[in-house]
Each structure stands twice: as structure tokens, then as C-alpha cells.
């Protein structure tokens, strides 16, 4: 999109910041740094803004405000989380009233670290956000003007960073249920995730000695399939799966907290099921306390058949479904 890089208008919100990052942000408007050179205007109005700058960690009061402000911003928009608190909760992460960083509420595109983040870093973050914005607009344009629609597409390895960030954001709440952050999903690194894109599960299975019963190569892909849910150019949901013999193993149905409750998880599951037309059985697992997931899967026709303990706090429940 021509022009958005030259006219970035900002909405600056302080979630629960000590104002350190806010002072640094506003310092960008002063003569020393003068971001108006770049066309930046600090509007106080979400409807006029392209960039949502959030400082501070998220607490009970700011959670709803952030959601409301985000909803009132027109596309295309980006979110920048400024400072350590906005990224992860910072030093206040374990506090009773803090639910985490900004990405526990809305999808964040750029994290500017620091405590307090320096103006140079903030400006750098804004510049990077502009690149994201431009790319996002191009993606939306090529997808045929589908504003606010959820698109379900195959993910590529280049999407790995976003999917990882999404994964961490989505599993925050899950970890919260168990009080344990030992989830493998939260511990996964970028390299590990990128490796998953390259895995060949069927060959592994055959190396392990299982009989290679691949009848139809097209119908049973021999690599991990990632499906992403995209809204206005940003990835807000993902799921992955691979098939060995007649079974497809699905995992990590993740949807960003902001977009939960809209049936996206369900659609993702259905989409990945169609990616494996040749298999006869689908298997998926989730934590034993995640009632919502269990309910979802049951509605989709899955039934529990196995339970495996993982840590003292977490047990995996395995569900399966026969293809009709």
C-alpha cells in the first residue's frame, strides 16, 4: 500500500506502566528526536491511528480497555509493545493483579525491549512496525480484499516466528490453569519449530521399524502440515499435524486470546483434518484441566481413549476420531 509508511499515526496507551516508557515515548515527539519528521502524529483516538503503542503490563482494568481500543482501530494496524512490562509483564509478572504482557490480550507485532525503552529503540520499533504494516497490507490486497475475514492457509517455514509468538501467547492462559509453565509449547525454541517444518514423520516411523504402508503419497503427506488462520494479514491461529500410516496426529491448536471464542479453533481442526484425506483415524491430545478444549474436541466427534501423566501437575488426555 502506497503511503502508509509515510503517514503513521499513533495511539499511545499506558496499560499499567510506571510511566518510564511513556516518558521515553513522548520524548520521541520532542525536538531532540522529532518523529514528526517521519509523519508521525500522536492522535489520542483509535479510529485515527495505525499504530497502537502500549506500555506497561496488563492488569484487570487495562485488559478491557486494550481490547476496546484495539477493536476500534481500523485496518491495517500494528501493535507495538514497548518495554519489558508490555512484553512479558517485566518485574511485575508474578504479581497477583498482572495477567502478563500485552500479547496476552491482543496480537502484538513488535516488541521493544528495555526498562525503560530508549527513544532510539522506540523509533526503531516504529520503523520495523511500518515494514510489518506494509507487508500486511500487501498480503491482504493479494488475498482479494478480504478485510476482517479469517483465511485458512498453509503455513510456510517463514511464518515460524509468528507462529512461535502466537504459541507463547496462546499457551499463557493454559499455563495459568495449571500454575505450571513447564509446558513444552512454551519451552519450544525457534530452531525447534523450524525443524518441525522439515520433519519427515513417515520416514521416521519406517526407520523405527513400522511397516511402511504408504499407499498413496498425495493422500498422506510425509511432512508436518501447518495450517494458519490469518486475519487482515496477521496470523492469529495455527494448528499442525502429521500422518504416520493410517493415523494423523494433530497438535497445538492455538488461537490468540483476542480471537478466541469465535469458532476459529474448531475451523482449524476441521481444516487440518481435510489436509489428510487418506487417513482413517485422527488423534489429538490436551491437558487434563483444559475443559474448553475437551468440550471442543468432543463436539467435533473425538473420544478420549488414553491418559498419560506428564508432570505432577499435568496429565495429557488423548482423544481419537474415526473418519466417516
Amino acid at each position: 500500500m502506497a503511503g502508509i509508511k509515510q503517514s503513521p499515526w499513533i495511539l499511545h496507551y499506558d496499560a499499567s506502566s510506571c510511566n518510564g516508557c511513556d516518558i521515553e515515548t513522548l520524548a520521541c515527539l520532542t525536538p531532540v528526536f522529532d518523529v514528526e519528521r517521519l509523519g508521525v502524529i500522536n492522535t489520542g483516538n483509535p479510529k485515527h491511528a495505525d499504530i497502537f503503542l502500549v506500555t506497561g503490563a496488563v492488569n484487570e482494568q487495562s485488559r478491557d480497555v486494550i481490547r476496546n481500543l484495539y477493536r476500534q482501530m481500523p485496518e491495517p494496524k500494528v501493535v507495538i509493545a514497548i518495554g519489558a512490562c508490555a512484553a512479558t509483564g517485566g518485574v511485575f509478572r508474578e504479581c497477583y493483579n498482572i495477567s502478563g504482557g500485552v500479547d496476552s490480550v491482543i496480537p502484538v507485532d513488535v516488541f521493544v525491549p528495555g526498562c525503560a525503552a530508549r527513544p532510539e529503540a522506540i523509533i526503531d520499533g516504529v520503523v520495523q512496525a511500518l515494514a510489518v504494516l506494509e507487508q500486511r497490507q500487501l498480503d491482504t490486497a493479494t488475498a482479494g480484499g478480504s478485510v476482517d475475514q479469517v483465511l485458512y492457509l498453509r503455513a510456510q517455514k517463514s511464518n515460524a516466528p509468528q507462529i512461535l509468538a502466537l504459541q507463547k501467547a496462546a499457551y499463557q492462559s493454559e499455563a495459568g490453569i495449571y500454575g505450571d509453565e513447564g509446558f513444552p509449547a512454551l519451552q519450544q525454541t525457534l530452531e525447534e519449530l523450524e525443524d518441525e517444518f522439515d520433519r519427515r514423520p513417515n520416514r521416521e516411523a519406517s526407520c523405527l521399524g513400522t511397516q511402511e504402508t504408504r499407499k498413496d503419497p498425495e493422500k498422506t503427506p510425509n511432512h508436518v502440515v501447518f495450517i494458519k488462520a490469518v486475519v487482515n494479514g496477521r496470523i492469529i491461529g495455527a494448528v499442525r499435524g502429521y500422518a504416520v500410516d493410517d493415523t494423523a496426529y494433530l497438535s497445538r491448536v492455538i488461537v490468540h486470546p483476542y480471537f478466541q471464542g469465535m469458532g476459529i479453533g474448531r475451523r482449524l481442526t476441521e481444516e487440518i483434518e481435510t489436509a489428510f484425506p487418506g487417513v482413517k483415524r485422527f488423534e489429538i491430545f490436551t491437558g487434563h484441566r483444559n475443559e474448553r478444549n475437551l468440550r471442543q474436541f468432543r463436539k467435533l466427534g473425538y473420544q478420549e481413549f488414553k491418559t498419560e501423566p506428564f508432570t505432577p501437575a499435568i496429565r495429557w488426555i488423548y482423544l481419537q476420531k474415526e473418519r466417516k
Partner: protein, 631 residues
């Protein structure tokens, strides 16, 4: 021409007769029939008269003068006695004194002058009286139809406590209508005076219709002020007859200024009281307690127009004199103060009342200046104001019944609650001040006339019109704003109400679209006949006005693309939205409602203070006028 005079007589007598008949009809269905038939007849009669080729005529009433005069005298005496009784019973010595003075003067006058009080032409028809008759017949007729449905709801639903005196009500409405016709067609000043006093009495009786103490008080106040005007009227007649041996209006207007100045000044005074200019505005504001048809008919469209009609008639006699300047000052001051006072109140009928007072002030300003251009502008103002203001009053009446409130703040979101009525109100309001509608054209004409004649008076128009802008637009905004998705109110209109409202809305548009026709057919010939030259808007300007009208008309069509491809989100409430635009989380997590309340300038303007300034100022001006006239 015979036909013309017959029509004129019919227009005067038929409504009066109908009124007397309606005074005894108790059955609602029969009443509806009579009202409908008579209204239709009056409507057709007025249109026929207006459309008649060369209707300008003067005629002698073909009755036996002696019996006619005796009859009129008896009516006058009867009215006078009634008023005196009213004054005595309500312990208002001023009323008694004024009536005695006025009645005594006229009685003495008639008895001493007797046979010499002959007019060559008792009635006459010219373009100005045709316009007034059209307004009376069309707008007044519409109001009578409206009143049928309105009064039924008034008594059966909204105001059960008010005694149902509908026969009396409708009788008065029609007697008034007939008297108005008589007023505008009268050339004989005595007859004019009689009809004038009949309208005063009708107004008194109608304001006091609900018979509450407040209504009685306001009715008496109206009576006092109008009687003062009546006294001046009587003095004018006597004086003119003494000096010029004539009781004819046309003769008065055509006389030399030195002769006509004093009676013209007195008649202007009468007109000023009748049209509620400062310092006599309080009676009109108080008259808003009456039911809406009364407010629409008497106190915005027709009766108060009689006052400005008289002032405009006197225009040639006062133009260029100090008297004229003083009259213009009264009008100008009233315009500014009325407009500013309308900003301060949130009661719908009060706003309309102040606006009426202000616009009448503008017409009085035109009359005081008295040039051809000014009179042309003034007549335009009369036409457009009558239509638009009547529409507004009728709409407010309907809204009052549906919402049970007269407060403008209660009309928030009316465009969703009562869409058709709201749109008609918007049309009416646009018609009052917005380009390219009629009142704007008239105001433009006034400005031009004033600048040519005496530019210093333009200061009133300039400040007044910016004030009018404010209170109309904030009312329009209040109708349009939709804070909470509303449910539609049961907005059924009675048949009469529908006819009146739709008809008047159409009339607002048509009067504006056809104003060049109105101007050339009625107004310009009149101005030409009186001043020997005429005024008009340039051709190029007409084209531009048409283009603007097209813009305005295209606006509703844009709703065809209603909300295509847009995403609806909440209003910005600092991110603290709770429900859609209605609530937000305030301090201590309490949910607050969104409340949009118009500005009323409470700290800046004070209605009572403005009134007081106006009363004092205009009293001084009137004193100067009297001095200028008599000295």
C-alpha cells in the same frame, strides 16, 4: 367583480357561521365532517380567489349599511361588556380601564360621527391581502384538520383532567379564521378594528382553555397587552378621521406623511403589541400553555401575522421618518434578543415562541424601514415563516403526545423513534434558517434591503442570525443523535394530523421551489403598486439556489448506499466501553450511562435578564417614537 366579492364575503362569513354551528355539536363524528367540509371549502375558496385573474378589487358590501353597522356596534358593545366583566371578576383594574377607555372612545366616536362614517369601499382585495388569505386558508385550514385528531388525544389520553370543551374550542378556531379573513380584506378601519378585537378575544379565550390558574393568568396578560394595542388602534381611527375625514385604510396609506404619521405610528404600536414584540413579548411566551393547535394557528402563523401585516401596510407612511426608524429598532432589538433567548431554554414550545417573536421582529424591522425592497423582503418572510413555523408547532404537538414531554432533551434519537415526524421536523427547522430554504432567502432579502436603506440596522440582523443558527442546529442534532438503539414508539398519526403535517412539509418545499412564482405573482405587483418600483432576486441567484436545493434533496437519496462495506464499532469512550456506546466503566468500576446534553449557555445568557434588557430598551424606543410622532 362580483365573483371576487362574493368569494371574499363567503370566506369571512362561512367560517364564522361554521364556528357558531360547531359550538353546539357534541358528537365527534359530526364535528369531523363539518370541520372537514368547511376546511375544504375555505381551502378551495382561497385558492380560487388567488387564482382568479385580476382579483385586485375593492367592493362595497351589498348589505344595508344601517343594519350592518348596528349589528357590528352591538357585537362590539357585547365584547366590551364581556371584557369588563372579565376584568372585574379577575380583579384586574388595568383591563377594565383599557376597555373602558377604548370602548368609551369608540362609542363616543360612532355616536357623534354616525352617518359620516361611510367608507367608499368597506372591503378590498389586493395582492398582500391575498397572500394573507392564502396563509389563513391553507395553513389555518390544515391546523383545523390537525386539531381534530390532536384534541381527541389531548382529552382522552394526555390531559384527562382538563374539562372537555371541544365544541367551544372548535367554534373559536373557526370564528377566529373568519375574523382573520375579515381583517385582511377590510378597508374600512372600523371593520378592521372589529375583526382585530375579535381575534384578541379569541386569543384570550383559547389561551385560557384549560382553565388552570396559570392559563388564566397568561390569558389575562395577553388580554391586557392586546387591549393596549386596541386602544392605540382606536385612537388612530379617531385621529385620522378628525384630520382627514376618512376611515379607509387605503386612504391612510396614500396620504401625505405629515397627515398619516400619527395614525400610522399608533397603528404600528397596535401591530407591535399584537405580534408580541418587546416589550410586549411575555404574552406570547405565556400563551404556550394552550394546546398546540392554538399555538400554531394564533400564535405563530396567523394572528400574530395580523400585527406585522398592519405594520407592513403602514410602511409607506413611516418610511424615512424617525417613527419608522424607531419601529425598525423595536423589530431589530426583538430579533436579536429573541434569538439569544431561544438558546437558553430547552422547552420546545418556548424555543418556538421566542423564535416566532424574533422572526416577527425581523418583519417589523422591514416595515419600519419601509422601502419597497424592505416590504418585499418582509412579505417573503411572512409567507415562509407561516408555513415552516406552523409545521414545527404541529410536529412538536405530536411529539409531545407520543413522548409525554416537551423537553428537547427527551427528543434524542427521534429520527429512530418517530422517523416520519422527525424528518418533517428537520424539514421545518431547515425551512426556518437553512439555505436554500425560504427563510434564508427572505433573510437575504432583508439584509439587502437594510444595507441599501440604513446599513446601521444590519448589526441586528447579523448578530441575530448567528444566534438563530445555534439553537436550530443543536435541536436538529438532538433529533439525529442515536445514543442507544431505540425502539420505535407507536407513532400513529390521526388522519387530520397526517394531512396537515405532510401537507405543510410539502408546502415548505414547494414554497421554496416556487418562490419566484409567488414573488412575481403576488409580492412584486403589490410592491410595484405601492412604491412604483420593485425588487427581486437576480436570475443567476435563482440558478444557484436551485442547485443548492438539488444538493439538499439529493442528501436522503445517499442513504441508498446505506452502510455498505462499513464496519460498525463503538464510540470512543476512552476504551472503557461497556455496552454499545451506552455505558462506560467509570471510577470505582461503576457503569456510567452516556448522557449528551445540549449547551444552553446558562452561565453566559440569562433569559430573564435578556427579557428585561429588551423591555427597557424597547420601551425607551417606543417613547421616542411617540415623541417623534406627536411633536
Amino acid at each position: 367583480m362580483h365573483v371576487v366579492m362574493t368569494l371574499v364575503l363567503a370566506l369571512i362569513l362561512v367560517p364564522i357561521a361554521a364556528g357558531l354551528v360547531l359550538g353546539v355539536i357534541r358528537l365527534d363524528a359530526l364535528r369531523k365532517v363539518v370541520v372537514g367540509v368547511v376546511t375544504l371549502a375555505v381551502f378551495c375558496g382561497t385558492l380560487a380567489l388567488a387564482a382568479w385573474p385580476a382579483p385586485v378589487d375593492s367592493g362595497v358590501v351589498p348589505f344595508n349599511h344601517y343594519w350592518l353597522n348596528l349589528g357590528m356596534l352591538l357585537v362590539e358593545i357585547g365584547m366590551g361588556l364581556y371584557v369588563i366583566v372579565v376584568g372585574v371578576r379577575s380583579r384586574r383594574p388595568l383591563i377594565v380601564a383599557l376597555m373602558l377607555a377604548q370602548g368609551g372612545l369608540m362609542l363616543w366616536f360612532e355616536l357623534t360621527q354616525g352617518p359620516r362614517l361611510e367608507a367608499a369601499h368597506d372591503l378590498f382585495v389586493d395582492n398582500f391581502s391575498l397572500i394573507m388569505a392564502l396563509i389563513n386558508g391553507v395553513v389555518g385550514g390544515g391546523i383545523c384538520l390537525y386539531a381534530l385528531g390532536y384534541m381527541r388525544e389531548y382529552h382522552e389520553v394526555a390531559h384527562r383532567d382538563v374539562p372537555d370543551r371541544r365544541p367551544f374550542f372548535f367554534a373559536l378556531l373557526f370564528v377566529f379564521m373568519g375574523a382573520m379573513f375579515g381583517l385582511v380584506f377590510a378597508n374600512n378601519l372600523m371593520w378592521l378594528f372589529l375583526f382585530w378585537e375579535i381575534t384578541t378575544l379569541c386569543s384570550f379565550l383559547l389561551i385560557g382553555y384549560t382553565q388552570t390558574p396559570e392559563a388564566r393568568r397568561n390569558a389575562l396578560r395577553a388580554l391586557v397587552m392586546n387591549l393596549a394595542g386596541g386602544l392605540a388602534f382606536a385612537l388612530a381611527i379617531v385621529w385620522f378621521h378628525e384630520k382627514a375625514d376618512s376611515i379607509e385604510l387605503q386612504t391612510l396609506i396614500a396620504s401625505k406623511q405629515s397627515l398619516a404619521l400619527v395614525p400610522a405610528a399608533l397603528l404600528c404600536f397596535a401591530g407591535i403589541t399584537k405580534s408580541a414584540q418587546l416589550p410586549f413579548s411575555s404574552w406570547l411566551l405565556g400563551a404556550m400553555v394552550a394546546p398546540t393547535p392554538v399555538s400554531a394557528l394564533l400564535h405563530s402563523s396567523t394572528m400574530v401575522k395580523a400585527g406585522v401585516y398592519l405594520v407592513l401596510r403602514m410602511a409607506p407612511a413611516v418610511t424615512g421618518t424617525t417613527v419608522g426608524l424607531m419601529v425598525a429598532l423595536v423589530g431589530g432589538v426583538t430579533f436579536v434578543i429573541g434569538s439569544m433567548a431561544a438558546i437558553t431554554t430547552s422547552e420546545a414550545k418556548r424555543v418556538l415562541a421566542w423564535s416566532t417573536v424574533a422572526n416577527l421582529g425581523l418583519i417589523v424591522l422591514c416595515g419600519g424601514i419601509g422601502t419597497g425592497e424592505a416590504v418585499w423582503a418582509g412579505m417573503l418572510l411572512i409567507v415562509f415563516h407561516a408555513v415552516a413555523k406552523c409545521l414545527l408547532f404541529l410536529c412538536v404537538g405530536v411529539v409531545e403526545h407520543k413522548l409525554h414531554s416537551r423537553d428537547i432533551e427527551a427528543m434524542s434519537g427521534l429520527v429512530v423513534n418517530l422517523p416520519r415526524v422527525a424528518v418533517m421536523m428537520l424539514v421545518g427547522m431547515a425551512g426556518m434558517f437553512l439555505a436554500p430554504f425560504g427563510m434564508l432567502i427572505s433573510k437575504w432579502a432583508v439584509l439587502k434591503a437594510v444595507v441599501d436603506a440604513s446599513p446601521l440596522l444590519s448589526v441586528f440582523i447579523v448578530f441575530g442570525s448567528s444566534a438563530t443558527l445555534f439553537f436550530w442546529v443543536k435541536w436538529m442534532g438532538k433529533l439525529l443523535e442515536v445514543v442507544e438503539p431505540q425502539r420505535r414508539v407507536k407513532g400513529d398519526l390521526a388522519l387530520g394530523e397526517s394531512i396537515a403535517l405532510y401537507g405543510l412539509s410539502a408546502a415548505t418545499f414547494l414554497a421554496c421551489l416556487f418562490f419566484p412564482l409567488i414573488s412575481s405573482r403576488f409580492i412584486e405587483p403589490y410592491v410595484l403598486s405601492v412604491y412604483g418600483q420593485t425588487a427581486s432576486l437576480g436570475q443567476g441567484n435563482l440558478l444557484i439556489m436551485t442547485i443548492m436545493m438539488i444538493f439538499v434533496l439529493l442528501f436522503p437519496l445517499s442513504f441508498v448506499w446505506y452502510g455498505r462495506g462499513v464496519k460498525v464499532v463503538d464510540a470512543y469512550l476512552g476504551g472503557a466501553n461497556v455496552r454499545s456506546g451506552v455505558g462506560f466503566t467509570g471510577s470505582a468500576s461503576q457503569v456510567q450511562e452516556v448522557n449528551l446534553h445540549n449547551y444552553y449557555f446558562r452561565g453566559l445568557l440569562d433569559e430573564a435578564g435578556l427579557s428585561r434588557c429588551g423591555i427597557i430598551g424597547c420601551s425607551i424606543v417606543l417613547a421616542v417614537m411617540a415623541a417623534a410622532a406627536f411633536v
